[in-house]
């Protein structure tokens, strides 16, 4: 597939895919990102697929999967945030510094003014708690 063929597919089917996605998302900017993702996926898969017999059906199918992936990612993020909110502040602080700020336990110990071993154990306990809270989600995602 080349750019010209991609343009033809866009001109013929992008409106329908957009209408489908905005119906699900109801957010203009998010729909734009989703539509772009759909055409990027189409371009990536075009070389693998010999011939697409129903281009619009193919695009709508990609659009649907892209939307489901987004919803799933969003739900996962929401649940992780909720689980983090349930941690005691001292464990949440260590997890944040370790995972978001990529700090070593030595650096975390310096920032929080605690021994490095304490930082490591708070991290371990905090992670265990998060893991327990997210276990249902893990099973759900791997169904």
């Amino acid at each position: 597939m080349n750019r010209a063929e991609l343009e033809i597919l866009y001109d013929e089917h992008a409106q329908a895919v957009f209408a489908y996605l905005i119906r699900l998302s109801r957010d203009h900017e998010e729909t734009r990102d989703l539509l772009q993702e759909v055409f990027v996926k189409l371009a990536r898969r075009a070389s693998a697929e010999n011939k697409i017999s129903d281009p619009r059906g193919f695009l709508l199918r990609i659009a649907h999967h892209t939307w489901v992936d987004l919803v799933r990612r969003r739900e996962t993020g929401r649940r992780i945030d909720a689980a983090l909110a349930e941690l005691p502040p001292e464990q949440a602080a260590v997890l944040h510094l370790k995972l978001r700020e990529r700090r070593t336990f030595e650096q975390i110990a310096t920032i929080l003014d605690i021994p490095p071993n304490t930082a490591a154990s708070r991290y371990r306990y905090g992670l265990d708690k998060i893991r327990n809270l997210l276990r249902p989600l893990y099973h759900e995602l791997n169904k």
């Binding site: 080349n2 750019r3 992008a14 734009r32 371009a43 990536r44």
Partner: protein, 146 residues
């Protein structure tokens, strides 16, 4: 409003319009992926419309192309060695044969015939055949009895 009417109204409801300014942005981004499409995909087989051939090419030949090439190389090597050995043996046999005199050749032939008869356990028949076939008289063929 009956169900058919409701369905028709939903189907005919105005769709939100796709913003025209998105077109180039999205196509540029997607076309970028076209250029970086995986080059490891199997190249198309020219003029191969037969699905079986295409399947064999795609699933068996192409993924293991290095293995097949190595196997072909080994076969060619073995074939070459085999030909070289055969031609060597032939030349040697021809050289040996050309050095032997007719009498030696005949004796050699008889020895081999006897050996073959012994190996096959048919010593007697070998002897009989010797008796049946006396050595030809030592005279020109033109003087032989009619």
């Amino acid at each position: 409003m009956n169900p058919d009417e409701l369905e028709r109204q939903i189907a005919n409801a105005p769709e939100p319009k796709l913003p025209a300014k998105w077109r180039n942005e999205i196509l540029d981004r997607a076309a970028g992926e076209l250029k970086t499409a995986p080059v490891s995909a199997a190249p198309p087989l020219p003029e191969a419309h037969d699905t079986a051939i295409r399947w064999i090419w795609r699933e068996i030949v192409f993924p293991l192309r290095h293995g097949w090439s190595a196997l072909a190389a080994v076969w060619l090597f073995i074939l070459g060695v085999n030909f070289a050995a055969d031609s060597g043996d032939d030349a040697r046999a021809q050289r040996t044969a050309s050095r032997l005199s007719p009498t030696e050749l005949e004796r050699n032939y008889d020895q081999r015939r006897l050996l073959l008869a012994e190996l096959l356990g048919d010593k007697r028949s070998a002897q009989q055949s010797d008796e049946k076939d006396p050595p030809p008289p030592d005279r020109p063929r033109s003087e032989a009895p009619l």
